[in-house]
Chain length 198, copies 2
């Protein structure tokens, strides 16, 4: 159908815009990337971007929102798959990394939330908080079901999230490394959580 086709084309293009923007933002930061930087990735003019977003601030906002949604998706899948706390933690990491380095990637890392407009900032902070909370909940569950060693879930969560969020700083789309990442990162980041290392 017409409307459908049109919408989907627009949506698809906008998604390409967001991914191009995410690449730039991850590399040079929000303010550090010009709209020309982004449009160059798409063989477009900077002005053309305004057809897809209201302004630059909305562009980051949408990038962050997209990252948040895909992150939540990873979380949901992990929780749905079930298993012990440790298993869910590991699955979440795997899914999240897969999304980051897979076809849907890259995800914008949310490193400049303060640059957002108040409304957007608060919304992003809120989903971000929810995400952290959900992960900490998994850790807590793991402690209860004795799959995870007693630990400070806030601190541990921050450590793991930090390692994940930092990935775009050193990973730059190498296929071999992507595979390694998806396989090894979940193991590396949860090795320290395991119970029964007495």
């Amino acid at each position: 159908m017409a409307t459908n086709a049109k919408e989907s084309r627009f949506e698809l293009q906008r998604d390409r815009v967001l991914r191009a923007a995410a690449t730039c933002f991850n590399q040079k930061g929000y303010s550090g990337t010009s709209l020309k930087d982004v449009s160059r990735h798409l063989n477009l003019t900077d002005a053309a971007l305004y057809y897809y977003v209201k302004n630059k601030e909305e562009l980051v906002y949408l990038c962050y929102l997209r990252a948040a949604e895909l992150g939540r998706e990873a979380m949901n899948r992990a929780v749905a798959d079930g298993g012990s706390g440790l298993q869910r933690a590991r699955l979440y990491i795997r899914y999240h990394v897969e999304i980051m380095v897979g076809d849907q990637g890259p995800l914008a890392i949310m490193s400049e939330i303060p640059s957002l407009r108040r409304v957007h900032r608060q919304q992003i902070l809120e989903v971000s908080r929810q995400h952290s909370a959900a992960f900490e909940e998994i850790l807590r569950a793991g402690i209860v079901d004795r799959s995870i060693e007693e630990c400070d879930v806030r601190m541990t969560g921050n450590a793991i999230m930090g390692a994940i969020n930092w990935i775009p700083k050193w990973y730059h789309g190498n296929a071999r490394m992507a595979k390694q990442l998806m396989e090894e990162f979940p193991v590396i980041l949860t090795a320290g959580l395991k119970r029964n290392n007495e």
Copy 2:
């Protein structure tokens, strides 16, 4: 002596400038912070900063250099203290975190290296590489001396460094949390490295 006193005063003020800048950069990114943002922290005018640095680019460069030097210092201390690979890894993390959240902090996180001028960029990249290499060397030594479980040192190093580098994104100068961080982070980040969890 006159020259001495003058130099030390200048140096001291410049150090304050660098720390104020680091705070801003960590919060809003390099391009996202105006010189006014930085000078406001010091009760100065933006123009006054030019007495201490040639321009804004040199400001980030010096921030990054300072972070690199203090990071190297942490590394040197850890290596000097000796012990097994695992012990040195743990010490390094402790020292680095101590510097980040202690009186010398904050350290600028090097998240916008691409924005540096070519010469500076290459220099910072070089010291950054050396730092990573030194840490990987510690891990490798730990594997040899059997204090650390067999692992991919590149990937593991990146994970740990990421967790550390991300700290300024969620830690904002809370004394209680600083203490926790210094105590718990070294443990959390090395828990997964330990051998003998069979």
